[in-house]
Subunit: 383 residues, 4 copies
């Protein structure tokens, strides 16, 4: 009999931010059920969190090691199908590796790991298995991002010449990590966040979005990273010149000290025939510009959109779809692929449209390269 896909979670207990997002995203379509979790490195907190989610006590574990071991021991009709990893960056690798080695699929928050060697090891593990590994570069889940990608791929804009991708936030304009703000404290800590601050946290989203939409690869970059807030060790702002593998030029900048900005990831792409512009904070709108023709404002669900876009929307035009719906598109595709596996079928190619461990490794290399570039007097660094 058909059944829902079963999810176990690592991290995301009381007080966490992204764990709740993953749970809502997984729940939205009724395809996935949360069956177990190791929600915190504090066993008591893990237990309390499990109760919040109405889980039976014996499926709430004090740590991910025990969770993976005990779940593996359960009969196939009962144990989790995949692990969702929603811990800080430095605790991605451990549970991901162990899950893969024990035959569990993985959904992992980004950046994929703490450093490049970890990412390379995960790539190796995934590539030699038949397991899925989805990375939640969630912004690629929006219907109008998928429309943008399809437009470029179909040549609607002609050859791409220029890409501008921005990710301004303002929430780290002051030193809130000194006040024990949980989200801020690990993100600004090199021991937990990795080699970069803003560039790792949000710059990688920008890099991923630009390459996802354009289908191009950044081939060279020139970066200038700054830690503006006194006492901060990692960059809270960065500006990067980009060169793409087809000769296109670009700019990427990301900031967490852009005072007053919320979360305005946005991108503009210009080709020989036209351009497009998308803003995460108004995600259902895709502005398209044309040589000698009026601007056309494409909207989720309106008119002749590409199937990739139509397929990513849940409700009719004019009913705004938000961040959680875009995030849920990753989980929905993962669930569909796992259902295909359960049924012994090949997944529909449309359902393979989610970021993978390879995107994760590319993100880690991006972080390494922008940091290296910023520390160098050499103008261009290859990527």
């Amino acid at each position: 009999m058909k059944r829902k896909i079963r999810m176990g979670m690592v991290g995301g207990g009381r007080g966490a931010f992204i764990g709740a997002v993953h749970r809502m995203a997984a729940a939205l379509d009724g395809q996935i059920e949360l069956v177990c979790g190791a929600f915190s490195s504090d066993p008591e907190r893990s237990k309390a969190s499990g109760a919040d989610f109405y889980l039976p006590e014996d499926r709430v574990y004090p740590n991910y090691t025990e969770m993976i071991e005990k779940e593996k021991a359960l009969p196939e009709g009962e144990r989790m199908d995949f692990v969702s990893i929603v811990t800080p960056n430095h605790v991605h690798f451990g549970p991901a590796k162990m899950a893969l080695e024990n035959g569990f699929h993985v959904v992992c928050d980004k950046p994929v790991t703490f450093d490049i060697p970890e990412a390379e090891e995960l790539v190796y593990l995934v590539d030699q298995s038949d397991l899925l590994f989805a990375l939640t570069h969630n912004y690629t889940g929006y219907p109008m991002v998928k429309q943008a990608r399809a437009m470029v791929r179909n040549g609607d804009l002609g050859e791409i010449r220029k890409v501008i991708v921005e990710y301004p936030q303002g929430w780290l304009s002051t030193r809130i990590e000194a006040e024990d703000q949980k989200q801020a404290s690990w993100r600004t800590d090199p021991k937990r966040s990795g080699a970069a601050g803003a560039m790792g946290d949000i710059g990688t989203h920008a890099e991923n979005l630009a390459e996802y939409i354009t289908g191009l690869k950044i081939s060279q970059l020139c970066a200038d990273l700054t830690a503006f807030v006194p006492g901060r060790e990692l960059d809270d702002d960065g500006n990067v010149l980009l060169r793409f593998n087809n000769g296109a030029k670009g700019i990427l900048h990301a900031s967490q000290i852009a005072a007053g900005e919320e979360n305005d990831l946005n991108i503009r792409v210009y080709g020989e025939k036209g351009g497009l512009e998308w803003h995460q904070m108004e995600p259902n709108t895709l502005i398209t510009r044309w040589l000698d023709k009026p601007v056309q404002v494409l909207r989720t669900g309106v008119g002749d959109l590409y199937p990739e876009s139509l397929n990513a929307a849940r409700i009719p035009a004019g009913h705004p779809e938000g961040y959680l719906e875009a995030f849920a598109n990753i989980y929905r595709n993962v669930a569909a692929c796992l259902q295909a596996k359960l049924a012994g079928e090949k997944p529909d190619p449309m359902h393979l449209d989610f970021p993978t461990v390879h995107d994760g490794l590319r993100g880690m290399r991006f972080i390494e390269r922008v940091v290296a570039s910023s520390n160098s007097d050499q103008k261009w660094i290859s990527f």
Copy 2:
């Protein structure tokens, strides 16, 4: 032990629109599980739909009568807690009445019934029971709508003078009901939709939103309804002058022939000290205007918002919340109230913030009054 709240559904099988919305809204927060349903008047379709939702076959019923009877016969630890009714207007009353008479709480789509007598009977049944009845005037679920309501209630705008509420759509600009479009065909059919077309389907949302935000009551109205599309029996457009119980004046208009409009419910409220403006298609923004001061743009989750607004948001500022999240706020409040009942406690007053059967009756009277006014030569009709 704590458990999720259990939902049964009437309507919403394959091919329906609003049923899927209710299911996603109910699932989002992990507080409610779908346990049974009578998803279609066609038993085969009901059965197939139940399988889509991974329900056991014995909890998928051929009709709502059998569902309510059989669920009632189940032990308390197993049977559904409430019924969600997502059928066309003329099939609201039957299941709602039967559910209430058998001790089940109800969540019902709007307008609440086909006509006023039905609505009055439901009011009577609810009022003499201790059952909850939530009506999904979902637009009141948006965080910035709750902020607007709190601002008016707290006197931030001063005494209200003028209210403009609009609901333009364009999808019925041509006679698509003649082409068997499912959503169009029942909405334009007086036998299934009721006394009004656009005014019933979306005008009631506008009326509900205006009264919800302002806390005022419309006391008089003057309407001009039109069926523009040849062959259409019910209004597809209506313009209404409003007078409120405090002396404020207003305008309400709703249209389904506003060519090219998606679903742009919006409202402006002006008081002695300031004004506000909200658009459903950009729901996380609330524009506030002031005498001799710059416009302030309030955003979901940013700055000093009222608790009613903060409480209705799930994710940090800049991560757009959409239609489903607003819809889910009704379900979340219902679930919280039912959890309180299970625990033998009084619900938190914050959780009682959802539209009720009384709002439903008011909506039915609004429909009756605008139709009467439109047919009359008398300028003002009381409401």
Copy 3:
């Protein structure tokens, strides 16, 4: 030899608002020179104002009577060609009548006169002369308003079904006329403003704009006017249902107590095939909507616009044209027509696109009708 057109001005001295607007609008294109004026009912103020404008003392007059008499006595190569009347409403008729009777063309601010009989007399005088009479319903001068008109006229939207025209301002939200604010005091005074307040001052602009763009005539209306601010005699807010001569329906509302609004005249027009939307505060944008196609955003000077629109713009796309440029389009057309007269030629029909004394009379009747409707229990009043 070709020469500039010569303008005399009545009103518009130091401290006035609209006089300066007229002077800048007349000067912009280098086609008109200010040669004389009676700038104030206070002769000293008139004299000082004339010096501000670098006029010789003998062309600055203490009142309009003397101005018209003395200018008429000057040789044709020297005397003014037309009078620009920029006084409060109750001082339009006197100078306009005298100018026409003495062979001078007239440009007059709106509303055209204090009451209907005055307007009728001016119509009579103009119609039996060969003199020009231009009324500065300046909002029709914007390039994108002309584009909108051309689109409707060419059937791009199909038959028009619905028109919504709004004119919200907030500057009279409090009783600033009691504080001797010059603009407020005459506008709120029935002896100087006429039968209506907001409806006369800005409602007539809205009425004119709706009829200009659609080419339709309002045939019936139902109005509800209010004086919200205590102590105010004339309406500061009004809501009006409209019916047009082709069966279209509409709404017009105007307010000067819409707290925090600047000057947001705007219009939406919906036809069978599409709709359009224009806002005076972003005048270079015309939003067009279509059945099942994306929104197209037309912009001043971009792409294939109608000649009427292209002709009304002065600078390339992306260089915003504002209020003064639109106002200047009336003066530019007047100057072109007068040059044609000087040359003994017929004016280019394109240059006859400015509001006339007939539009002025229609505006006066609109004022009379909305006031009558607001005082009546009858639902519909013909117009």
Copy 4:
């Protein structure tokens, strides 16, 4: 007796774009009259153009040399006060130098000259004279740009950390210079335009705007210029990383191949306490952002703006001021300074707020530096 300031013009005959802009800007406020000109290098075209402007034949000259000589020979009560130079870049220096050497003030379009030595010579001539030299970096004339500058200067944003200035256009996306488009052909020709294309034409506006608003100086830059359109010799796109003298970081990019973009010069500035954003295409709006407070939207003429901003607006709030009005603010200030000179007084410091020959030299150096940087492997180049 007081009189208008007298302008002579070099360039700007029939078919030119920017000449008409200068004439309208000079005419708008009624402070300046065009008295003579050498409107074209073609004497017949110059003569015909002079007739278009109603000039007497003897004040229309075949070239600027003759114009300056003959005007100098006229009596002081008659001859021009200043020269307005509106020719292509390579014809700025000649008339400017000759005008200065003959005692005439100068208004000159930008960039100030063809190369740096020319600019240095003009600086020398101006500095040792008591003549005015105004450069039409017109975008600094907008009221909300002046508000932005005043806000930064007054510390409202705290210490500035990040500046992003963009100038995207799309009109050179194809090789229209090959089709003899007049504006395109000289701008893409190194012999007439100078060392840079887009960077000279519009990049200098961006550089000027950023330094004008922030009061900071760019101290280092790293540029990547590209000529995307095949066959084009000069850059049509450029991306530049910036470092400012206070430690702020920034990005400047300018493009004429950003397909579909009109003329969207825009800037964002972020400081420790807040940020601001301004777009030339909606010039009356200044978005301001704050730590933990809602966005405030400042608008021309609304609320408590700084005097520099209020003083630069001509009409009340809500009546949009455009490109010509901003341009006219330079001419208005020049006229006021020249009136002060005529009266033997010192100019009001408020009237000295216009770009000068020093800004022009800085612009020329900016062009030289970005071209040098683009050709270099060195990361940072000082400026």
